[in-house]
């Protein structure tokens, strides 16, 4: 018998809504069977049964629960008639779960009780950490796990420990951080999959004199944007960019390789941003109390407008990808943002973001930084403009880049040299397609 806890399905998820149970209360479920749909701040997900046994539902449909709160019991021995809870405060007190570690050798007490080699572990926790539920006041984690979690910005309160006694070890943090090569946690965590069939909720037409309830995604956007503006002192740097060559290159690629997806202007700018960022890890460093935390790579977030919201899927290690690879990936991610099949993992870990409103005819705008990043590039439309070249007025395709910068992380001159490098690459676009 074990508790099914509200899973943490994304880095930023703090609570989730039970959209609907896929099996009735009391039904016998099998491990891996989808049993509940959860709405997170980023996507709707189905959660699979972690083990076999009868399901005892605790959380009613539509109820909201913090990550780690019990939403069901599964398995023999579930308390009969456990009350169906509509809020976490009504949930029964967590009972010791089956995950209590019992195989920890206890430290010797100095008394030779038997002849045998003393393999003496350092004091091992004998309490069941994994059973203490969301209110646990003491988190048992290895020092290394703590350090890694601190570096990547993961709250250990939401990490499931798989070490002895429920200790959070590095692999547990890596599993959430999505570190490459991270071993999978050995303990049974609820398997998560995104419901591909779930179409986005159609927007109800907004009429005057209404209070429109926000979706979880919209509430998340509101919270994060407010957090960004309140905590990150923004300033903006602007450069007019001659995009004529970029547009010419794009046209040539389209003509020369009709069978390959033609990179968009945004794709080429992503490539330029990635190349420039790879040269300047400092630009990606986020401010953290008393230090600059430099991320592990260039992961570019791309703002994608969706019905009733905004998503930022991530091109990981964008600096290692060709323009064509970026183009293919951006199309795929954007399409899946719109049909709801994007996964939380694909929405996490960006280290700098680009937002292009050129397709709406916007000349220039100042974007709000996507926390905890240090900068965001806002791209306006390219228009033919008269500019002076070699003393003559000529017509060029001009666009404006606006780099919003967190002044805690990055200062004016640093932001300026970085933006200038991005502009240089965009204005010399063959470098972007050369490799």
């Amino acid at each position: 018998m074990s508790e099914l806890l509200m899973p943490k399905l994304s880095d930023t998820m703090e609570e989730g809504t039970v959209l609907g149970w896929l099996v009735p209360d009391g039904a016998v479920v099998t491990r891996g069977q989808p049993i509940v749909e959860i709405e997170t701040d980023k996507a709707d997900m189905t959660v699979d049964a972690p083990e076999n046994g009868p399901l005892r539902i605790l959380a009613s449909e539509g109820s909201v629960h913090p990550v780690g709160a019990p939403i069901a019991w599964i398995g023999e021995g579930a308390p009969a008639g456990a009350p169906t809870a509509s809020s976490p405060s009504e949930a029964p007190a967590p009972a010791p779960s089956a995950e209590v570690a019992t195989n920890i050798p206890v430290g010797d007490d100095g008394t030779p009780q038997e002849i045998g080699v003393a393999v003496t572990p350092a004091a091992a926790p004998t309490t069941a950490v994994s059973a203490t539920g969301p209110d646990r006041s003491r988190i048992i984690a290895s020092p290394l796990a703590r350090q890694v979690a601190r570096d990547v910005g993961i709250d250990l309160a939401n990490v499931h420990g798989t070490g002895p006694g429920g200790r959070i070890v590095r692999a547990d943090v890596d599993a959430i951080a999505g570190a490459p090569g991270a071993p999978a946690p050995t303990a049974a965590a609820p398997a998560v999959s995104v419901a591909p069939s779930r179409a986005p909720t159609p927007a109800t037409p907004v009429t005057f004199g209404q209070r429109v309830p926000a979706t979880r995604l919209q509430r998340t956007i509101a919270r994060r944007m407010q957090e960004s503006v309140v905590t990150a002192p923004h300033f903006a740097l602007q450069r007019d960019v001659d995009a004529s060559e970029l547009i010419a290159v794009r046209r040539q690629l389209s003509a020369a390789r009709p069978d390959t997806p033609t990179p968009s202007v945004t794709d080429l700018i992503i490539r330029a941003l990635a190349v420039a960022a790879a040269e300047r890890p400092d630009v990606l460093a986020r401010w953290d109390t008393d230090a600059f935390v430099v991320p592990d790579g260039v992961h570019i977030g791309v703002a994608v407008a969706v019905e009733r919201g905004l998503l930022v899927p991530v091109i990981r290690d964008a600096n290692t990808k060709s323009v064509t690879e970026i183009a293919v990936q951006v199309r795929d991610l954007a399409a899946r943002c719109r049909d709801g099949s994007i996964t939380p993992a694909e929405l996490e870990g960006s280290t700098i973001t680009v937002s292009n409103l050129g397709m709406y005819g916007i000349d220039r705008f100042t974007a709000v930084i996507n926390p905890p990043e240090a900068a965001i590039l806002a791209v306006g439309v390219a228009r033919p403009q008269p500019v002076v070249r070699d003393g003559n007025v000529v017509v060029r395709d001009m666009m404006t880049f606006t780099l919003s910068v967190d002044h805690r992380s990055l200062y004016g001159a640093e932001g300026a040299t970085f933006l200038s490098r991005v502009v240089q690459l965009v204005e010399m676009p063959y470098s972007l397609v050369a490799d």
Partner: protein, 333 residues
């Protein structure tokens, strides 16, 4: 290890004899003193042939009087000679502890550096030969505890020779702990001028999953355990400190920061032992790199039994090291 010596296979015992012979030849101030080291050629035959080669003025038999001839060695060292004192086993060092701790280790300090004690006290230790509780000690921790001493614990013939030569040439008192169980161990040795500096660990095997720090004979059981574990996909890095004072913390820290897991093995008892001390220093210097508590592997916390089966079960074996590594990695056997 130097290449010209690699072809030669020499026993740990003979490596020690070579070291003393070469140093007796090199430096007329070197002499040997101890019980039965001359005519009887040593209880473990480590001084075989040396009385005949160097004569009774430089290879001196003594009565059973450890406190007396250790004290004699200290006085001779203060007067400018370089005595190499043999104690029949580490168990008899206990009767000379006052000389070792209160005189050898303190004289340079208490005389403000005006006089040093270039003394080596050799002694074999370890259990496993059914010698009873009083004659089965592993006292590395006792000597390592004392500032003013240096403590060498060679695990290979090469190190036995090279560390003993370093010890004889050192200007401070060196406790040289040999292992009874290794005297017949064969391997390459270095030439007359191949020394191993004190405080420089050897990485006996590289691996990325767990650092296993092992001393003296325990290095070999750690290597056996590493072989077993490799078959399970666990790669151990076996670190042999070679001297426990000074201790090469740089090598240990470097390894643990890479593996994030640590097991320490010594043949002594667990309480206030060598493994405890090394584990503490790992905690002090690698805390934020540890993914699990350090595990110790020691002898059982009992007087070492005489009965063979009990004695064997009281001593650390490769399977104990393997179990400790699996425990720190939270991997089932």
């Amino acid at each position: 290890m130097s290449t010209e010596a690699a072809a030669v296979s020499t026993s740990y015992r003979e490596a020690l004899t070579q070291a003393m012979r070469e140093e007796l030849e090199r430096d007329p101030d070197v002499f040997l003193i101890g019980e039965d080291i001359g005519l009887f050629e040593g209880s473990f035959k480590v001084t075989r042939g040396l009385l005949g080669e160097f004569g009774p003025d430089r290879v001196i038999d003594t009565p059973i009087s450890e406190a007396g001839f250790v004290g004699l060695g200290i006085g001779a060292a203060m007067a400018g000679l370089r005595p190499v004192v043999e104690l029949m086993t580490v168990n008899f060092a206990i009767v000379a502890m006052d000389q070792i701790v209160n005189n050898a280790a303190k004289i340079r300090y208490m005389f403000g550096g005006q006089v040093s004690v270039p003394l080596v006290i050799r002694m074999p230790g370890g259990a496993g030969h059914q010698l009873g509780a009083q004659h089965s000690h592993s006292l590395e921790a006792w000597f390592t505890h004392v500032p003013g001493l240096k403590v060498a614990c060679p695990s290979t013939p090469y190190d036995a020779k090279a560390l003993l030569k370093t010890a004889i040439r050192d200007d401070d008192p060196v406790i040289f702990l040999e292992s009874e169980g290794l005297y017949a161990k064969k391997g390459p040795v270095g030439g007359p001028d191949d020394l191993v500096p004190f405080g420089q660990a050897a990485i006996r095997r590289t691996g990325q999953h767990c650092t296993v720090i092992a001393v003296s004979r325990m290095v070999w059981i750690a290597l056996d355990a590493a072989d077993t574990l490799a078959a399970e996909g666990i790669e151990c890095e076996v670190v042999d400190p070679r001297t426990t004072r000074p201790l090469d913390m740089d090598a240990i820290v470097d390894s643990v920061r890479r593996t994030n897991h640590c097991v320490v093995v010594d043949e002594g008892w667990p309480e206030c032992g060598l493994a405890s001390n090394i584990a503490t220093r790992v905690y002090e210097e690698c805390f934020d790199w540890l993914d699990a508590p350090v595990q110790r592997v020691n002898a059982a916390d009992v007087p070492i039994p005489y009965a063979r089966n009990l004695e064997q079960s009281a001593l650390p074996h490769a399977h104990d090291v393997a179990a400790a590594v699996r425990a720190t990695l939270a991997r089932g056997a």
